[in-house]
């Protein structure tokens, strides 16, 4: 076993162009420092799977031209309005888009976690979401004697799960606490790459208090330290969102030219001082 703790650039280098990457929602643990490194690297043709929605992370990658396809339930800057580069890419037809609804993406991840080929879910019948998803199916519920159509979605097997968490140890065990969606995408993905605030020297699985919120190291290919690595997004129990910075992003990213200025100032430069 090679050491699980890597430098951030090595972790980012392990993400090939064209990779199919699962990312979490903004309240969970987004690997923003790694995302900026991907943009600096000039990553291309990524296929993003947001589980289930995204904000700045997807918008930044799309605006920087790193993304060929996105499957998502929504990309939005929340209170600050629509995600401008996502919106421009969709109206401009420059990315492939698979519109979903949150629990359909959770269902696909659950199927992958369970090793099942598909998962059934309620809802969706009669919606245009379903009408535009030829890769989903509608079955008659085999347990019903009366007509009962049920949507089934295929298992989602991302190649890479990429996220940010508070703690990891040297065995690659990663503490996520209540943020269980991070555990789910690690289960579903073939490879899991994680940035963390800090590496602890103790074994996170050895203590019952931390074990219950820890992803075991055998799911994790590599971890890299990235202090404030979710910035400007929040990290639960650690730091809130940087509201002023996000407002600046929303303002600048409203135009292609402003977005380029944002990249120059915050992304393409060497890593910001903490």
């Amino acid at each position: 076993m090679t050491a699980k703790v890597r430098a951030l650039d090595d972790l980012v280098a392990a993400i090939p162009d064209g990779a199919y990457i699962a990312i979490p929602p903004e309240y969970s643990g987004c690997a923003m420092e790694a995302t900026r490194a991907l943009v600096r690297r000039g990553a291309k043709n990524l296929r993003l799977l947001t589980v289930p929605a995204s904000s700045l992370q997807a918008d930044l990658l799309i605006g920087a031209g790193c993304v060929a396809e996105i499957e998502t339930s929504a990309v939005s800057l929340g209170e600050l309005g629509p995600a401008p580069r996502f919106t421009a890419a969709v109206t401009g037809g420059t990315i492939r888009l698979k519109d979903a609804t949150c629990p359909a993406l959770h269902a696909g991840i659950t199927a992958a976690e369970r090793g099942a080929p598909f998962m059934a879910m309620r809802g969706l019948i009669g919606s245009d979401i379903l009408a535009h998803r030829p890769d989903w199916r509608v079955l008659q519920n085999p347990f019903s004697e009366t007509p009962d159509p049920v949507v089934v979605v295929p298992a989602l097997h991302p190649e890479i799960a990429l996220f940010h968490a508070p703690l990891a140890d040297r065995h690659g065990n990663v503490w996520v606490g209540k943020r269980r969606e991070l555990m789910s995408i690690a289960h579903a993905a073939r490879r899991t790459l994680v940035t963390v605030e800090e590496i602890v020297e103790r074994d996170l699985l050895a203590d019952a208090a931390t074990a219950s919120g820890t992803i075991p190291g055998f799911y994790v290919e590599a971890v890299a330290v990235a202090p404030e690595g979710a910035w400007p997004l929040p990290l639960a129990e650690r730091y809130p969102a940087d509201a002023a910075h996000l407002a600046e992003y929303a303002r600048l990213a409203g135009s292609e030219e402003g977005f380029r200025r944002y990249l120059d100032q915050y992304v393409l430069v060497a890593r910001r001082a903490a």
Partner: protein, 232 residues
């Protein structure tokens, strides 16, 4: 609050500052009996099984009330959170459907809200159905819309007739104004009552108790509406 019925668990999704205000107010008025889960608030999020738990909970029948909005809402209560114009090459793109393609079907009392009450938002027919207002009888659908609240009025939704019915017009607004600004047809009683305003005590609770709780997730909203200081 009347729209909550005898709910035990009200959940509020992303980007919903007004519903969040209503939910937290209702929780305070219930003495803590009512669970109010705000998905994006660490302090008002009782879930411990990850982002899917809200949907699981709703599927289990444990969420009584949810709020949904729409870029467009039509007279059959179809909602559109996706796009205006041709889906493949839209004129306007909204963020996306979030959980609406599921929650609208399974939560018994879905309250639609849309602060901009205009012919642009309340349309005869939505361009994209994120979730339909009603479903044929063979479709599993324990949930659906009960009301639509706008900045001008309150509509109730009649699931049998598949139509909205005007319930009340807010103080300072008129029936004519509602008729002028609504793109779909709706039923109405002979005399349309005025929406009862929140009591002085409710207004105090909202300003003094609820708004500070909301400030971490909706800093802009609470600053604009309640004058509560922005988060650092």
């Amino acid at each position: 609050m009347r729209l909550f019925g005898d709910a035990r668990h009200v959940a509020v999704g992303a980007q919903s500052p007004i519903p969040a205000t209503a939910a937290l107010l209702a929780r305070h008025l219930s003495g803590g009996r009512l669970y109010a889960s705000l998905l994006t608030s660490p302090a008002h999020n009782f879930f411990t099984d990850g982002g899917r738990e809200l949907f699981d909970c709703a599927g289990q029948g444990r969420i009584d009330v949810f709020f949904l909005s729409g870029g467009q809402i039509d007279g059959e209560a179809n909602i559109n959170l996706v796009a205006i114009g041709d889906y493949a090459k839209p004129k306007v793109r909204f963020p996306g459907s979030f959980g609406s393609g599921y929650l609208y079907y399974v939560v018994p009392r879905v309250i639609l809200f849309r602060t901009e009450h205009s012919r642009r938002t309340l349309v005869p027919k939505v361009d994209f159905v994120s979730a339909p207002g009603w479903s044929p009888p063979e479709v599993y659908r324990p949930g659906g819309p009960v009301a639509l609240v706008t900045n001008r009025c309150v509509f109730a939704f009649d699931r049998m007739r598949r139509r909205f019915r005007l319930e009340s017009v807010h103080p300072g607004h008129t029936l004519e104004e509602v008729l002028d600004n609504t793109g779909f047809e709706f039923d109405r009683p002979e005399r349309v009552p005025e929406t009862p305003p929140p009591s002085a005590e409710d207004r105090r609770l909202m300003r003094e108790v609820v708004a500070p709780e909301l400030a971490t997730i909706y800093p802009k909203f609470t600053a604009d509406v309640f004058g509560v200081g922005k988060a650092a």
